[in-house]
């Protein structure tokens, strides 16, 4: 009946699929990863960069749990910047320009060296079921593969439709076929489908650009890695270039608006508001006289340059006209044009918080199919789906991170609770407990969890323990040691003390930086990252804010601990409106806290839920009503 048998089958080897397959295999499950083209594993379909604000947090968290995106990002990274350092360490985020080919290569090498993991090139045309349980997959050549769980990570390939001006054609990514047969099969499963749109800018030939017209953007002198495990010194090997559009360009765009499929009505899918196409920017922000453009190299061994900020679906001749009107790009040659792509996604409210579909057991979704955008968002979901697919085969409890655990928890909770109407991207402003969800403590938050489920290797675990011990020793020193006030640090600054203060008292002073105390030898410490030192300093200087945050976390945890039974009969509950009953019955929140986050659920409705919950716990129904 079946040609091959696996515990976990992952369909798609993009950023979600790679993490999912690696996690399941690392956890000891017999795992197969199916891709239409093994040479394009971990392809970066859009910008040549990993991380960024909030996204860098996701990469850190993936790494802390035992995922691989951070390691690959560090190894394939060619320019590193830590963003937002003018603010507190909670919103510092690492970002790196990556060599696209290098990233594919590193990722494939990591996967090939993972035990229990088998990479397969084939087109999956059908998902097989037994009743409402997944049973395996069928391939284009007719082979059938049995699987206990299937993780679907199809990206933009489901009914992908590319638009360039008036032209459109089916594709998964530019130059790759879409998955039409698979899409048609899954269509009939009764999921709540939607259509989204995203876009990518044109790529140029480096040799035809006059870089003198641009402002260079360099990497940090001290690169910050994504991974806690990266020990090699990272190197900045390239530079990016910044410029801006002007009125002349805007008028070219305006006069060609009728040829943009976005505005002609040809594109029906909804695009992300935070990543608008250049034509959107010009139309929607007419008062803005310029828009930022950043030229980013796609790699070391290529001349291809990514034109960040110029995502577009305008016809190729208009793209050319725009580019040639830009200073420094007058004679630039286009290697490939920008395009918009529409694709199918499933409303993620179809999923449990462990990313298994509610309708079909053993069937997990991760990445763009869930309505998200971004490599990091995809990778994080892939990791969670892979972990839970493995836990399901093992018969263990699912892993669900909450909103105070991790950005990953916030993203998954947002998706399964609210669904999405535009491609979902992570922001730090989505994190209510942002001060606690830092890049420097991602390991403290998540590595023990990764260890418990068998994803964190011995080597990783030992590195973790050593690192936490180093931080603990510094904290201990700062909290307990007394300051030697005769040190030149104080003398040179004219600081005088009546008695010997503790370091904590000292650091509370606004003008004193812990990093300076360490730098000038007032405190002796082992090798630590800048983020660790600043984070410790912040916890002293702004203790009150952190405590305020902790109280909020407690409130959340209390509301999360009020679990709602899976068989709760909302329809029979007096006092709830029909609309609220419909929402609760569809989303089936796991807790009072999750219920309170469903759009349209009022505080009064929550009070009623609490009341019925209490009544149920006491095994009593209100008399004569229900």
């Amino acid at each position: 009946m079946f040609d091959e048998t696996y515990d976990v089958v992952v369909v798609g080897a993009g950023h979600a699929g790679c993490e999912a397959a690696h996690a399941a295999a690392r956890m000891g499950l017999n795992t197969a990863l199916y891709t239409m083209n093994v040479d394009l594993i971990a392809q970066m379909s859009c910008n040549p960069a990993i991380g960024g604000i909030a996204k860098g947090h996701l990469v850190r968290e993936i790494d802390a749990l035992g995922g691989i995106m951070g390691l690959a990002g560090d190894e394939a990274g060619i320019q590193f910047r830590l963003l937002n350092t003018s603010r507190g360490p909670a919103v510092w985020s690492p970002r790196a320009q990556a060599d696209k080919a290098g990233y594919r290569y590193v990722m494939r090498r990591i996967l090939e060296r993972t035990a229990n993991l088998f990479i397969k090139q084939a087109e999956v045309t059908e998902i097989l079921f037994e009743g409402n349980r997944v049973a395996g997959i069928e391939l284009l050549d007719g082979r059938r593969v049995s699987a206990k769980t299937v993780v679907l990570t199809t990206g933009t390939f489901l009914n992908g439709l590319i638009h360039i001006g008036e032209k459109r054609f089916p594709a998964g990514r530019n130059g790759e076929p879409a998955s039409i047969t698979l899409a048609n099969g899954i269509r009939n499963l009764g999921f709540d489908w939607g259509r989204l749109k995203t876009g990518t800018p044109p790529r140029l030939d480096r040799r035809t650009i006059d870089f003198a017209a641009f402002e260079p953007q360099h990497g940090d002198p001290e690169p910050t890695p994504f991974s806690f495990r990266t020990t090699a010194r990272l190197e900045n090997r390239i530079c990016c270039y910044i410029t801006h559009t002007d009125e002349k360009i805007h008028s070219i765009i305006r006069s060609n608006m009728n040829r943009s499929p976005l505005y002609s009505g040809q594109i029906k899918g909804i695009g992300p508001r935070y990543c608008p196409s250049i034509e959107d920017k010009v139309v929607k922000f007419q008062d803005k006289d310029r828009h930022q453009i950043v030229l980013e190299p796609e790699g070391i061994d290529t001349h291809e340059i990514y034109v960040n900020g110029m995502s577009t679906s305008l016809p190729i001749d208009v793209q050319r006209e725009i580019l040639s009107s830009m200073k420094g790009l007058e004679s630039a040659q286009m290697i490939r044009p920008g395009y918009a792509i529409e694709y199918d996604f499933v409303q993620p409210t179809e999923l449990h918080p462990w990313l298994e579909t509610k309708k079909i057991e053993g069937f997990f979704f991760a990445g763009q199919i869930n309505g998200t955008t971004g490599y990091e968002e995809a990778g994080a979901q892939g990791l969670i789906a892979g972990i839970n697919a493995a836990l399901k085969v093992r018969g263990e409890e699912y892993l669900v991170l909450d909103r105070a655990d991790a950005y990953i928890g916030i993203m998954v909770d947002d998706l399964v609770t609210k669904g999405t109407n535009e491609p979902y991207r992570m922001f730090t402003s989505r994190a209510e407990f942002r001060l606690n969800l830092r890049i420097d403590n991602a390991d403290e938050r998540l590595t023990p969890i990764g260890r418990r489920i068998g994803l964190v290797t011995d080597e990783h675990w030992n590195q973790y323990l050593e690192r936490r011990a180093r931080i603990a020793r510094l904290r201990d020193l700062v909290q307990h040691a007394r300051v030697d006030t005769s040190h030149s640090f104080f003398v040179s600054r004219g600081l005088e003390f009546r008695s010997r203060p503790s370091f904590v008292e000292l650091v509370r002073r606004p003008e004193i930086r812990l990093a300076d105390l360490i730098g000038e030898g007032v405190i002796q410490t082992e090798t630590l990252r800048r983020e660790d030192i600043v984070s410790l300093e912040t916890s002293i200087k702004y203790e009150g804010y952190l405590k305020q945050q902790d109280r909020e976390v407690e409130k959340l945890r209390k509301a999360e601990s009020k679990r709602l039974p899976a068989d709760f009969n909302y329809a029979g509950m007096a006092g709830l409106s029909r609309e609220i009953v419909e929402k609760l019955s569809r989303i089936r929140p796991k807790s009072i806290a999750q219920a309170s986050r469903i759009p349209g659920i009022t505080p009064a409705a929550i009070s009623i839920l609490l009341f019925h919950l209490e009544m149920k716990r006491n095994h009593r129904e209100p008399e004569g009503v229900v």
């Binding site: 937002n84 990543c275 509301a559 505080p603 609490l610 009341f611 009544m615």
Partner: protein
């Protein structure tokens, strides 16, 4: 949104509360709801005969006893009451409900509540009776919202305020403040989340300057609560004095009917009587109290101690002196005891030859009246009206009427103040935002809206974000 979870209730417990506004009428009602309601009534309610029992929808006259009080008959008997039983589900809440109607004296009602508490009942959370009614399908939410405000409306001015709030009057005031706050938050958030895009974030001092007026506005609203409370609960005006200075006559004049018994015999009034009238739309509760003097009479001395309890709750004391006599030790005792309370001296018996030496009163505000002829009563009313005016507010169309609104607006104002102060201290924005979100979610508690998506919507419509 978590803020919405403050009403965490347990259906298991029997709840109790005074369900009529305090002191507003001759009758006050205490309501019990839940499994134990009947048992509690059976324990404290002495029915007319040993064969009586509580029957659904039947009112019964009897005595409420305080089983915990010492063995003195007049102390253990809390009050003569009417008890009505409603069996579940045919009651307001859908649970077993006991309604105890007693005399409207707040102290009596409080004692009834205390006895119920001693038997395991819990004080109901605000709106909990109604919440239980909704949860048991006795009414829907929209009705529930409307109920409370109408129950309370006693004077026209109150009804207008309640109406205005039901029409979203408060929300209408909050919305523009909220809009500005969301704007500030969106700017700060955009600065953090889109630091890589060229987003202009104003300087800290400029942001602090835009927050301060919002905080000030909320503080102004917070102050309207005193006026709102006055509208809602009315003011308690205690009429005090030694025996036989004419307190009860004055009381009857002020409430414009013969409520208190008036005799020549000193010490006729032994308990506190209250009556409410409306003056300029504000409910004024006048309390006629037992005359203050040294006494060995057991009942009279209980009356005197209740006089001082009433004084403690009073917003204004009307100290009545006899103009036709000299100030004596009992008068001095009254004047001394009212020294801590806002008071107005009423010199009664202006129709008789005046002997009182007013110089001894040190220029304290006073009015001369004759409770018998009505002379000077308009002056007294004018004095009371100017006392009311002090409580009036300059925010013409907005009045906070519930303690919850007052608490929430105050909390929001303080969070905004803290944020403005932190900005001036250059505290990082992600921390300042904690206070700004607290301020915002407090306002959301009052309008019933939800936050996060608002912020992102605002960011995307304000800034051109994205590469």
């Amino acid at each position: 949104m978590l803020e919405g979870l403050h009403k965490i209730v347990s259906s298991d417990e029997t709840i109790v509360a005074i369900s009529t506004p305090i002191g507003r009428s001759g009758i006050g009602v205490v309501r019990l709801s839940g499994m134990e309601a009947c048992a509690i009534a059976n324990r404290f309610f002495r029915m007319p005969s040993a064969n009586s029992f509580l029957e659904h929808r039947t009112a019964m006259v009897g005595v409420w006893l305080d089983a915990n009080a010492p063995e003195v008959a007049e102390v253990a008997e809390v009050d003569e009451v009417v008890v009505t039983f409603f069996r579940a589900p045919h009651s307001y809440t859908g649970e077993d409900v006991i309604e105890i109607s007693a005399h409207g004296n707040p102290l009596t009602l409080k004692r009834i509540v205390e006895t119920a508490k001693s038997a395991g009942a819990r004080i109901a959370a605000p709106g909990e009776f109604t919440l239980r009614a909704v949860a048991h399908g006795k009414m829907d939410l929209v009705q529930a919202e409307a109920v409370r405000d109408f129950i309370d409306a006693q004077t026209e001015q109150q009804a207008r305020t309640a109406m205005r709030q039901m029409e979203g009057g408060l929300s209408k005031h909050i919305r523009p403040v909220k809009e500005k706050l969301i704007d500030v938050i969106a700017h700060l958030e955009a600065g953090i989340d889109f630091a890589e895009d060229d987003v202009d974030v104003p300087a800290n001092t400029a942001i602090a300057e835009s927050i301060q007026p919002l905080a000030d506005e909320l503080l102004r609203w917070e102050k309207t609560f005193e006026y709102g409370r006055m509208l809602n609960q009315g003011l308690l005006l205690a009429i005090l004095g030694k025996p036989n200075v004419g307190k009860s006559s004055l009381f009857n004049q002020l409430i414009a009917r013969d409520r208190a018994i008036v005799t020549e015999i000193p010490g006729t009034t032994r308990d506190v009587l209250t009556e409410t009238i409306s003056m300029d739309g504000v409910p004024l509760r006048f309390a006629d109290t037992a005359g203050v003097r040294q006494t060995t009479d057991r009942v009279e001395s209980i009356g005197v101690s209740r006089t001082f309890e009433t004084l403690a709750d009073a917003d204004l004391a009307l100290v009545v002196l006899d103009g036709s006599a000299s100030i004596d030790d009992d008068d001095r005792c009254v004047l001394q005891r009212t020294g801590q309370t806002r008071h107005l001296i009423v010199i009664n018996k202006a129709d008789l030859p005046q002997i009182i030496e007013t110089t001894a009163l040190n220029g304290a505000p006073r009015v001369a009246v004759s409770a018998r002829t009505g002379e000077g009563l308009d002056d007294l009313r004018d004095a009371l009206k100017s006392f009311l005016l002090e409580h009036k507010t300059d925010v013409a169309s907005l009045v906070l009427t519930s303690a919850r609104q007052h608490e929430v607006i105050g909390r929001s104002a303080r969070s905004l103040g803290a944020a403005a102060e932190a900005l001036n201290r250059q505290v990082p924005h992600e921390m300042v935002l904690l206070d700004l979100y607290s301020a915002l979610s407090a306002l959301d508690e009052l309008t019933g809206d939800v936050v996060t998506e608002d912020i992102l919507d605002r960011i995307f419509s304000t800034f051109c974000i994205g590469k």
